[in-house]
Amino acid sequence: MKTAQVIYENGDHRWLAIVRDPDRPGYLVDTNEYLVSVGEDAILLDPGGSEIFPSVFSALCAEYDPRRISKIFASHQDPDIISSLSMWMEFNPDIKCYISWLWAGFVPHFGGTGDTFIPIPDPGTDIPVGRERLRAIPAHYLHSSGNFNLYDPKAKILFSGDIGAALLPPGDNGLFVENFDRHIAHAEAFHRRWMGSERAKRDWCARVADLDIDMLCPQHGAIYRGADVRRFIDWFAQLDIGAVKS
């Protein structure tokens, strides 16, 4: 079963990371899900694939009452991100799903109706959670053509989706990056192969370099903290991407 760990807490404003299921089948890519709660409201970020819904739901229940989740944020359309949508809709038919307008006509194949989705325009949007406003930041073509990160200016946390992702080897399952150079070796092949646009990459790096970020939370792998956030952005900025190497 996964565990839900508090990675940020300030009064009733919390971030939970739902991570690391030792019983996960090896053929499923490992994912991180995140919950941002402010007071009695909460948003679930990239809720996960249908195969891991029981694990995510149970881990979440141990730390938070999921009846308070009013929104889902889907960074993009991939099944490991949002194919559990039909389960979440069974649990709470009133949940709203924020996703790039590009995918609003595709993701209903995973669940939901016309009323479920709040399409995000390409420049992004603010998403209210309790008294706070989180910001959907464009990250198109990294890797999906309609792709967003989510920034919490109060917590100084950027949920970066697939950017920053690392496919960690068995046994290397720490929640946070402790040794950047050793960690980034597990991220390099993924970023070279998956990130498709040099221009989009440069734009993203410039955009997030202006943000005040204490934690960069990817959908796969470990979380970057403190100086490692800037290290990652600089590393990504100079990385050669968008080519299949034989």
């Binding site: 079963m1 249908s50 819904f53 029981p54 694990s55 739901f57 149970s58 229940c61 141990a62 009452d65 999921p66 009846r67 039909s86 389960m87 069974e90 649990f91 709470n92 038919p93």
Partner: protein, 199 residues
């Protein structure tokens, strides 16, 4: 679980059970801390509170056993979520196949109808049976927990009796044992809620 109750209703029921489990765990942790303080108090009271000291140790053990029991319950609810999820997937597939059947005619339609009769019913029944089995186990575990909590009540009452022999520490020991009684009564109430959500 009936079709009328729905898989969504089943998930919400599991959430309500989990909220009560969390409440009991928090209270059990409180009892553990109280029992530790009681042990220190009994030590200061010396010989006069030997009996009270023994009971405080038992109450610590009770708190630990209760936390472990809640963990067992929590694991069971995880199993229930897995079964409900499988049911949701089956229902979704069945709805698609139903629509397919409605658009077909002749032999193709007859084939789909045979499929629906066999697989649909079988899968649905299997998942429902799994959920029913898990619910029976959950009931048994809740009943076992109720017995454990009854033991806790007996320990708390006994501690109150022993407190009376605590000499100059008697008043303090009585206060501590009253706190135990009230706190265990909280657990009784949570368990009753848990039982109600489960039924």
């Amino acid at each position: 679980m009936t079709q009328a109750a729905g898989t969504g209703g089943e998930l919400r029921r599991i959430v309500r059970i989990n909220e009560e489990i969390k409440s009991v765990v928090a209270t059990a942790f409180k009892i553990n801390l109280m029992a530790m303080n009681a042990i220190f108090l009994a030590k200061r009271a010396g010989q006069a509170a030997l009996g009270f000291s023994v009971l405080s140790n038992e109450l610590r053990r009770f708190a630990t056993d209760l936390q472990q029991q809640m963990e067992v319950l929590r694991q069971m609810t995880h199993g229930s979520v897995a079964s409900v999820t499988a049911l949701v997937k089956t229902e979704r597939l069945n709805r698609v196949v139903d629509r397919m059947r409605d658009e077909l005619s002749g032999q193709a339609r007859a084939m789909i109808e045979r499929y629906l009769r066999n697989r649909q019913t079988t899968s649905f029944v299997l998942h429902q049976e799994a959920i029913a089995t898990q619910n029976r186990r959950l009931s048994q575990t809740i009943a076992d927990t109720a017995q454990l909590v009854e033991l806790g009540s007996v320990l708390a009452r006994s501690a109150k009796i022993e407190a009376a022999y605590g000499g100059s520490f008697s008043a303090a020991l009585m206060q501590v044992s009253s706190d135990f009684e009230h706190t265990i009564a909280e657990i009784h109430r949570s368990l009753e809620q848990l039982s109600r959500h489960h039924d």
